[in-house]
């Protein structure tokens, strides 16, 4: 609820319509229209663009559900004006299938929906090892830095 003193800062009704129509990409006609065009776009992107593949594999390795990943990809491209949201939703199983293929070819565990992630919430052994290895030296340093310098109640630090 808007406080009485803040009401002057609230948006004026119809304020969102004051920008020029077509000034944002998603207000323009989409670049790709048919299901085939959009499907081919994503398949090409996920087979040829190495940067996109690497980023996808990193996200899958971190445990991001494939559905959420596909959802984000679709929204991002929709905002760029490449396709509409409805064609994006239709194409979603194709994108998820591409993600599954990438994960299985690279021996990475994955979950399709967020519910699957919650059900099988078990940390991957290799991931745990990676975390432990990266933090090994740091813990000793931290303990040493926290340890008191003096030895008794009456001891003083070096002047």
């Amino acid at each position: 609820m808007i406080k009485p003193e803040d009401f002057l800062e609230a948006p004026i009704p119809g304020m969102s319509l004051t920008t020029e129509p077509g000034s944002v990409p998603w207000e323009q006609p989409p670049q790709l229209v048919t299901l085939q065009e959009v499907a081919d776009y994503y398949i090409n992107k996920l087979t040829e663009d190495q940067e996109a593949i690497d980023k996808t594999l990193d996200a899958i390795e971190l445990g991001v559900p494939l559905q959420s990943l596909a959802n984000g990809t679709i929204l991002f491209n929709m905002m760029k004006g490449i396709h509409t949201i409805d064609v994006g939703f239709l194409v979603m199983p194709i994108i998820v299938e591409m993600f599954i293929t990438l994960a299985e070819l690279n021996d990475i565990k994955y979950s399709i929906t967020p519910e699957d992630t919650i059900k099988g919430k078990v940390l991957d052994r290799s991931l745990v090892e990676k975390i432990v290895n990266s933090s090994e030296g740091k813990t000793e340093e931290a303990i040493q830095s926290l340890a008191p310098v003096g030895k008794g109640l009456m001891s003083k630090g070096n002047m």
Partner: protein, 71 residues
């Protein structure tokens, strides 16, 4: 996006059906029997779900081949 699970399972069912049951030509029998040609509608006449299922089927086949090559 709530309906994704439903939609995905529907596509999965279509793909599983087409991938698991090889149709047999009713005319030829015994050793000479061969899989019948698929009676697929042209891409233009397919529904969106059928088109998506076809793509998923192709991706799965390619994945199988790649995994077999890897092994």
């Amino acid at each position: 996006m709530k309906n994704f699970k439903k939609y995905y399972s529907k596509i999965n069912n279509i793909v599983d059906k087409t991938m698991s049951t090889p149709k047999i030509d009713p005319v030829s029998k015994g050793i000479v029997q061969r899989p019948a040609k698929k009676e697929e509608a042209p891409v233009g006449k397919m529904t969106a779900e059928q088109q998506v299922a076809r793509y998923v089927e192709i991706i799965r086949k390619q994945k199988k081949e790649l995994l077999n090559d890897k092994a």
